[in-house]
Symmetry: C2
């Protein structure tokens, strides 16, 4: 979980996740094109951090490495950590749940 927080702390890495939301399963070269301000090595390093945090999974296809977004750690972060602090957000969810259950 600490790896997830640290991975998300960088602006570039969040932008990489954004790029994968737009189009999932991109290769390193494809991602490089979208970040001309960085070299291939910079992109690869950030991808490695995201992969170590399990935020991105990869699959080799021939000589390409395709990158896929894995939303699970972010959901866990929301469920296990954020919900503790964002009380009103959680409360509204709980309220809705109770409302649904009472009307059902």
């Amino acid at each position: 979980m600490d790896l997830v927080f640290k991975a998300l702390a960088d602006n570039t890495r969040r932008a990489l996740l954004d790029a994968l939301v737009e189009r999932d399963g991109q290769s390193v070269a494809a991602l490089c094109e979208q970040f001309p301000s960085m070299t291939r090595f910079g992109v690869m390093k950030h991808l490695a951090v995201l992969e170590a945090a399990n935020l991105v999974t990869t699959r080799r296809q021939g000589r390409n490495k395709l990158h896929y977004l894995n939303p699970v750690p972010i959901q866990q972060l929301a469920d296990r950590w954020i919900s503790k602090y964002a009380q009103p957000f959680t409360r509204s969810l709980v309220d809705l749940k109770q409302s649904v259950e009472s009307t059902a």
Copy 2:
């Protein structure tokens, strides 16, 4: 928002937030007692980072500085950023809303 992510990237700072969830409005000295592994200066630096990210607000009372948790940035993070990735979480909220509205 970047400041929030960076502030949350550190384990010690998250622990400080935890301490404020347990008991809000603590002084520097009180927080230091709960983190004996760190000096007062370390605690102060981390509090400064949290304050810069607006995750903690302070209020002076005599020679004490009291620290209060501010959940707003975390809620914004959940609403504006996490909801984009944790689709199932958001979807269940939307589903509930629609369910409530249709039954009402």
